[in-house]
């Protein structure tokens, strides 16, 4: 009923190739984006913005980045935390060295630097595949974090080894630093995610995405039909690292406010990988769903005992949270091994026929 497509005729190739060929989808997404920009800044309090929604957006961006590499190009990576660290530390160094530089430009430049680092660590992918590549990228993770911990130049010789986001404004509005409101941070994070999600969506529909998928599905066959593996794989590493770098810069500047290397340790890499796997490999929507699941469910579980007025000791509460969360992950993977995005796809297919199934 909701999804009845009767009467929607595609008269041109352009309309047939649209990102959202169904009118209802277009409306849904458009309303969703507008609502995301308007509703939370007006309604949500600082806790919701700062501790729930901003981390969700930051992780969603990182998950899109990893999904391009692992989900579309099939290169398993455990270096996400390291590449995000590159983004975070590069943004810090850039904005301290050039305080006049617009902070959005700083984010983009730190993404470019992360992309460069990603390219270097992507070179082994030509020879190494699968789990062995995961181990090679694991080396990137440990090396980069070690580097930022070891070399005091990266933290401007702060004795604590902590980087702090300074006050930076865009068009007179404070975006980072302690005086920036949660609303501004949220809108900036959302705008970046919205733009990059759109870019990613278009990227994977086009020639680049198709060559990635060809490499993923059978690299020898792809090579025979003329996909150059070196360039394709490196491009995947570069673009993925760009996304992760921007996400890392956002993590420090919009979410945490200040960070140490521990914020980028191996657990972050695993966390983002879990988001991609649970959300759905090879799906931009899945990156959002996965990030939502990993970020929101633990916070939801922490708040449940309070909401229903059950005074549990915090230790027990935390352990229960971990158990329930683990159980949910296993449940979803058993019910739908292809991720939450696939679940949505099935729902949508059912909805398109409903209420008159065959």
């Amino acid at each position: 009923m909701i999804y009845r497509e009767a009467g929607q005729f595609k008269m041109t190739y352009a309309s047939d190739q649209a990102i959202f060929p169904i009118v209802q989808d277009r409306w849904l997404v458009a309303i969703g984006i507008v609502a995301a920009f308007v509703v939370p800044p007006l309604v949500a309090n600082e806790y919701w913005l700062q501790a729930v929604l901003i981390p969700f957006l930051v992780y969603a961006l990182a998950a899109i980045g990893l999904n391009l590499l692992t989900g579309y190009a099939g290169q398993l990576s455990l270096g996400t935390g390291g590449f995000m660290a590159v983004g975070g530390y590069a943004a810090f160094k850039l904005t301290m060295a050039f305080p006049w530089l617009d902070i959005i430009v700083v984010f983009l430049l730190s993404g470019v630097i992360a992309a460069g680092v990603g390219l270097v660590f992507g070179i082994p992918s030509l020879r190494i595949k699968g789990f062995y590549l995961a181990v090679a990228t694991l080396a990137a993770q440990f090396f980069l974090v070690w580097l930022f911990n070891k070399v005091p130049w990266f933290v401007n010789y702060a004795s604590s080894g902590t980087i702090t986001a300074p006050n930076r404004a865009v068009a007179g509005l404070m975006v980072t630093g302690p005086n920036a409101t949660a609303q501004t941070r949220y809108v900036v994070a959302l705008a970046l995610v919205a733009v990059f999600a759109l870019v990613a969506k278009n990227l994977v529909r086009g020639r680049v995405g198709r060559s990635w998928m060809a490499i993923r599905d059978r690299d020898i066959a792809a090579e025979i039909i003329g996909v150059r593996p070196l360039q394709t794989k490196l491009l995947a590493f570069g673009i993925s690292s760009f996304y992760c770098g921007v996400a890392g810069a956002e993590l420090v500047f919009l979410y945490l406010g200040s960070a140490e290397t521990l914020a980028f340790d191996i657990t972050l890499s695993f966390l983002v990988l879990f988001m991609v796997i649970i959300g759905g490999l090879g799906s931009v929507l899945g990156s959002f769903l996965g990030a939502g699941f990993i970020v929101l469910v633990p916070i939801f579980l922490t708040n449940v005992p309070h909401l229903i007025g059950l005074p549990l000791p915090v230790a027990l509460q935390k352990q229960m949270e971990l158990m329930v969360f683990g159980g949910l992950i296993i449940f979803f993977l058993i019910v739908e091994p292809l991720g939450l995005a696939r679940l949505w796809q099935i729902t949508k297919e059912k909805l398109r026929l409903w209420p008159f199934p065959h």
Partner: protein, 442 residues
Amino acid sequence: MRSRTILIGVLAAALLAGPMLATGWAQPKEVFIPLLVYRTGAYAPSGIPIANGFVDYFTLLNERDGGINGVKVTWEECETQYDTKQGVECYERLKGKGPTGAVLVNPYSTGITYQLIPKAAVDKVVIFSMGYGMTAAADGRWFPWVFSFPTTYWSQASAVVKYIGQQEGGLDKLKGKKIVHIFHNSPYGKEANPTLETLARQLGFELTLLAVDHPGQEQKSTWLQIRRINPDWIFMSGWGVMNQVAVKEAAAIGFKMDHFIGNWWSANDSDVVAAGDGAKGYKGATFHAPGTGFKVHQELVKNVYDKGKGAGKKEDMGAPLYNRGIVNAMLAAEGIRTAMTKYGNKALTGEQVRWGFENLNLTEQRLDQIGMKGFTHPIKVTCEDHEGNGPVLIQQWDGKKWNIVSDWITPMRDVVRPAIEAAAVQEGQKLSYTKRDCSKEK
């Protein structure tokens, strides 16, 4: 079918909207303190006793005196697992609770303290990082909202060096001696390094800095290096599971345990028990006595534990970290009490509590009144000095319990204070702060 759909929809909406609405249930005559604790994870061995001590002291105040001057203390624990991201989430969740919002926060983690310093000044919440956190913030002219009394990592490092000097027969004897600093590779562990480096230059001892990565279970390479260096003294800034591993490793290589000194976060019962007899002789810094031989402990047994309201087990009382929790709660309570002398006995705001902290003068007489005579040292906080320059004790493990083996050691203020003031300028400018004029404060 329909009704079920509606029911599910309503439930989902309620669950989503609930947290948004559940802020601020107004109740007068209460001060609310968010407690960032870690009772699970790799740092639980250190986190549990300190959280219990803290909660027990506030329970005691509420049970015995009906709160602070009749104003009830309320609190809510939030589990951080010593993780900065979870710590920030906890802070954001709890800062608005209570009739006047959170008045002060104890992050219990240097990493989380660094995160909260920029936020708390905007939210008007006092950060009480007792003996941890950002040392530079001890300059109250730059960081009005941060308090680290009774003492800081830099003061501690200088006091420990002073103690080593005493053992060697004078500070001049330190020349050419080899001292190793094993530290947790985090803002916390790195904090003591600048002071140690300065002192190494001044006194001529050879300093080696050895980092141990989070969480600290893997230290084989560190101890291999120590065997090669063969140091005269080891100083350690460890936390959580790292401490017990280090003490075990030291015992395994047969290092002279009385030449191995932990900082005050590395000298708890849980750190030494695992190493058994090998830990005998291990030393640690502290700023209060261990054990249960004080009046406050009797009061705790009578008013809290015998009523079944204790946070932990009665026999776990008196561990150094448990006592530190008591000291932390006591200092917080005395700060609030000081604020009440000016603003009256009511629910205070963060700004009022900040004034109380800045004008705290904890005398020997007052310590006697609250049953802590000889338990900890008197302290006086001023607008310039948020550290109070408190002295340090050295305690030693005899295989069964900790004993104090030194007098109160006054830190080298001539070395530490100028460094704090210089660092405060640097750190303060990073946050675009300006220096306030303390002569204008009332």
